[in-house]
């Protein structure tokens, strides 16, 4: 067990990632109520249970299939830098759209916490969320917080720690697609596994091969070449 580990803050734009980052690290990342305020990585530290947790604030992204430079920064970090824990920050008032990204992250990597932020707003609007049910359905911890009012932080930090120490084992629910897509996944996935071994979820790579995310593969090629020689 290392004495320091990395936690990345991923999520849709404008869900309060930088606000959470500031609250946790005490750093002064700029925030703004518009999609696209953060466009590059920021790093901060927080001490918890005698360990140093490196927190990375990422630009917001609508999907792992990036369409602009700021999204690519986020995508590259989540996919290639492999943080020890990925925190997906969701906006409690628009969960439907936010789950789209969360599900994509769950397909790609295991150590994920779903962090439902802006819970104060949700309360005001009469939205109630059953996080226990979601935890069961998704196979990873789901935690409600308000980054603005600093509620839910203790549970969040403890959960991060317990994932890191292996006390909580994440088993993300596999998302099954239509039979047509599943058949194609079955054709490709074994080949992917042979090529990439275990470094990255083969099912996820198979899906990206099918939907043709060429910018992702350019990155992959670049990084794998570096690794190989």
């Amino acid at each position: 067990m290392k004495n320091s580990y990395t936690v990345a803050l991923a999520g849709n734009p404008n869900t309060g990632k930088s606000t959470l980052f500031n609250a946790l690290t005490g750093l002064k990342q700029h925030t703004g109520n518009w999609a696209g305020k953060t466009v590059s990585l920021a790093e901060g530290k927080v001490e918890h249970k005698g360990k140093t947790v490196r927190i990375i604030d990422l630009p917001g992204t609508y999907s792992l299939f990036s369409n602009s430079t700021d999204e690519e920064v986020a995508r590259n970090y989540i996919v290639f830098e492999k943080p020890d824990v990925t925190l997906v920050v969701l906006d409690a008032t628009s969960l439907e759209r936010n789950f789209n990204l969360a599900l994509q992250v769950l397909e790609m990597t295991t150590n994920v916490i779903i962090c439902i932020n802006l819970i104060d707003e949700a309360d005001k609007q009469g939205i109630s969320i059953n996080e226990k049910a979601l935890t069961r359905k998704l196979g990873v911890p789901v935690i409600k917080i308000s980054a603005r009012n600093k509620t839910g932080f203790t549970l969040l930090l403890d959960t991060i720690d317990r994932i890191h120490t292996g006390k909580i084992v994440c088993t993300p629910e596999i998302i099954f697609y239509d039979e047509e897509i599943e058949r194609k996944i079955r054709q490709i996935e074994p080949l992917v596994r042979e090529y990439l071994e275990d470094s990255i979820s083969s099912r996820w790579v198979a899906l990206r091969l099918l939907d043709g995310d060429d910018s992702l593969f350019q990155q992959m090629e670049k990084r794998l070449l570096v690794k190989g020689g």
Partner: protein, 465 residues
Amino acid sequence: MQNGFQQKTSVSLGNLYAYAQEISDDHMRDKIVQNLYKKSQQLCESSVIHKNKKNDKRTEKLDAIFTSPIFGFPIMIIMLGIVFYLTIAGANIPSSMLATFFGWLENHLTAFFMYMNSPDWLHGILVLGLYRGTTWVISVMLPPMAIFFPTFALLENYGYLPRVAFNMDRIFKSVGAHGKQSLTMAMGFGCNAAAMLSSRIIESPRERMLAILTNNFVPCNGRWGTLIVLASLFMAAGYTGGLKSLVTTSVIVGIVMVGVIVTFIVSWVLSKTALKGVPTHYTLELPPYRRPKFFDTVIRSSLTKSLSVLSRAIKVAAPAAILTWVIANIYVGDTSILMYIVNFLDPFGKMLGLDGFILMAFLIGLPANEIVLPILLMGYLSTGSLTEVDNLVDLKQIFVEHGWTWLTALNMMLFSLLHFPCGTTLVNIYKETKSKKWTFLAFLIPTVIAITVTFTIAQTVYFLR
């Protein structure tokens, strides 16, 4: 490599990709995302309960006002005006207090140097160069920033900016640019160099380049000191008190409008020439209005920005001030180096309604716009007797003694608005575009425009006289 996928042993990413594309079909991505959304909906249906039918009434009501066909645009201008008014009116007193304090301290420093019997040149470099230049930047620039940044941050965290982008998009579209350019322009008020990074939110490279090349026409905080001082000295000279701030504000808003119009024109010309193409990919999210955490936002934005200004003042203003003092005091024959430069630039400056000192100040001020005005003053002061500059009236006296009229002030403001981006911005442009050509154009285009505009105005005025 080209014959698609064949053998396991020769598996490469390229082969895999080609093979996958073969068995995939056109709208695979649609199907995948549809599946994901279906799953999201299931999750929401089973675990989320909406107690109210219609949720966010407040946002709807506010949007009806802020994006109204009648009030939308006037409100935008009024908002801009309010932010500037607060900044100008509020900064007045702290600025003069700082100036008085630094002036008082300077006297003591000078006394100390005399007491120590230190040589004139040492006192010159340290006090008249370094100390004066740096404290000038602090007293003129710091108070407006300490007010502007928090005010703007509150507006930003409330959620007003996307509405501006929504209202303005049609105009940006008609000049071939991206609606999110309003967002990068809004960032430009803070700092053009930072706005270069925020242009990343624009998906299409062509429109992103437009946003990068024109961002400079939004005056950054480093230029406001210059704009505010000149506007209040020369344009609002006949007024006093609150009215004076109001007139100054109107002048600044007018200058900003000129910048916006130039942005539109340049975007339009570029879309028809070097960056030909049609507008693409536009989606803009309009988040609900959210009340910002007042204290946090104010402290964060004023403190961090103020600190960065202070450190910048020391990093850039100090060496520039020393340099200015040195070239003003090294004589070749009976003329200082500074005067050689000034005399060389003077004829050209006069053609633009400016003078050699002003052009020199802009050149030395390349690393940061904050230092242009202090350098200019040091230049002027090095020629005459070294008067104390305790307040703005003295300042005006110095300008007038050097032949300034309202034309000089106007053209200096316009030149400041339109001229080349600062060094940091240019570096960022190069980092973002990775192109020497575009970085050079980002320097050239504004410079040519600044020269053309000031030349035209000056010649017209000379002709009419």
